[in-house]
């Protein structure tokens, strides 16, 4: 018998909590989170669940709240775990071009920013073709995207240029702090496509400058569908805490550092 979505969530929490050491700092806890969640990919979920897995948002959020790792992280970095977003600590990282991503640039530029609707791409729960992604820097270290890069991936060659982007304090940011919030977001801005309901990022951009996907939401939603209206929301795979900016609301970027080919 295949495990239920609830059981899969408990398995996920168990794996996250395997390194939930109260004596560990936020850096170590985030490294463990980053080593666990990206492995929950679509094929792995399909193999585990035997097909699409749909969770009840309330149950999923309750499971995430049982996660000791998140509770420990929330002591030092509450905004990364549940929001709200710290607009002053947003980091964007430009990695070197790769043959599979030749257009990469090391500097975030307003001229290269593509707002939703300017170039219609395929519906997605985490679109690549629009906006800009940042991760919140820790109070004493880098953001989770840098933590992900440090694990090593041939798809993101060095040098890595880390930039601080300070978002306008008045910019509206939608907080996705769990499965219920994710379901509400998709329900509010639905885009039906190919049997699933995707977020309509163009319409969301009319109300929000950015959407902040927190760690609690990632634990509760990654790999799972949730019922929204007459359908099921497409499955998100965000891996690490990030914000998708739908409008350019930043001042001048500030270079934080460059990780060269031989490391910093």
């Amino acid at each position: 018998m295949r495990p239920t979505p609830a059981r899969l969530l408990r398995l996920r929490v168990t794996r996250l909590d395997a390194a939930a050491d109260p004596a560990a700092g936020a850096g170590a806890l985030l490294r463990h989170f980053t080593s666990v969640m990206p492995l929950w990919t679509e094929p792995e979920m399909t193999a585990l669940a035997g097909g699409p897995a749909v969770v009840d948002p309330t149950e999923a959020d309750a499971a995430a709240d049982e996660c000791l790792l998140l509770r420990l992280l929330a002591r030092e970095e509450p905004g990364i775990v549940r929001g709200p977003l710290d607009r002053a600590r947003q980091h964007w990282i430009g990695t070197a071009p790769h043959e599979l991503a030749p257009a990469r640039r090391p500097v975030p530029r307003r001229e290269a920013f593509r707002a939703p609707g300017s170039d219609p791409g395929p519906p997605s729960t985490k679109p690549f073709h629009l906006g800009l992604y940042t991760s919140t820097a820790r109070r004493d270290g880098p953001g989770m995207w840098r933590t992900y890069l440090d694990q090593g991936s041939s798809l993101h060659p060095r040098p890595w240029h880390t930039w601080e982007l300070r978002a306008d304090p008045a910019a509206e940011v939608l907080e996705i702090d769990g499965a219920a919030a994710w379901a509400a977001f998709v329900r509010r801005y639905p885009l039906a496509h190919d049997g699933s309901v995707f977020p309509d990022w163009r319409r969301a951009a009319g109300d929000f400058a950015g959407v902040h996907m927190t760690l609690r939401a990632i634990v509760a939603t990654q790999g799972f569908g949730v019922r929204v209206g007459g359908g099921v929301a497409a499955v998100p795979y965000w891996d690490v805490e990030s914000s998708l900016w739908l409008r350019w609301v930043f001042g001048e970027p500030g270079l934080v550092g460059v990780a060269g080919p031989d490391g910093e």
Binding site: T41, P43, L100, H156
Partner: protein, 172 residues
């Protein structure tokens, strides 16, 4: 003490049986760090690689044996680089070790389409590597090789294993 040493020796023998099916003569390979085979052997299923070493110690000493397990994840559409199929391989040890070396490879329809460089990580309990290609529809499978250098006093001093992951169909 004698039982522990026999256990370590037996474990080392079990590890060695997992080696095979690789050709050190391929580009980038050496006699001790093999490259991925050019094709998936017929009828190949998923395998699992383990390496372990032990040292003299009491039966109650959990640190007397360090076990390292390699896992080949199912290839997937990358969620960070569009239009890419990626496979991640991981090694997890029960304690930190001086070195973990890994290589990942990706197969499409039984043919090798990409393999990574060797990656050595030091003073760690875990290792990771990946291999990726531009996505085109097909059946994908990953392969990994890993080698562990154990701390001084452990026997054997090094151990390695390699194996294939599950094959999955991928549309782009």
């Amino acid at each position: 003490m004698r039982v522990r040493r026999m256990t370590a020796a037996a474990a080392a023998a079990a590890v060695l049986t997992l080696l095979g099916g690789t050709s050190p003569a391929a580009a980038g390979g050496t006699a001790t760090d093999p490259s991925a085979p050019a094709t998936v052997p017929a009828g190949q299923g998923a395998t699992q690689g383990r390496a372990e070493a032990g040292k003299a110690g009491s039966d109650a000493d959990a640190s007397a044996v360090i076990r390292c397990e390699g896992q080949v994840q199912r290839p997937h559409n990358s969620t960070h680089v569009p239009g890419t199929v990626n496979v991640v391989v991981t090694v997890s040890c029960t304690a930190p070790v001086p070195e973990i070396t890994t290589r990942a490879a990706l197969y499409k329809n039984g043919q090798l389409v990409n393999q990574s460089a060797l990656r050595t990580q030091t003073n760690t309990a875990s290792g990771q590597n990946n291999a990726a290609v531009r996505c085109s529809p097909g059946n994908y499978r990953g392969w990994m090789y890993f080698k562990v250098v154990f701390p001084p006093g452990y026997e054997p001093p090094t151990a390695s294993a390699n194996g294939f992951g599950q094959e999955v169909p991928i549309t782009c």
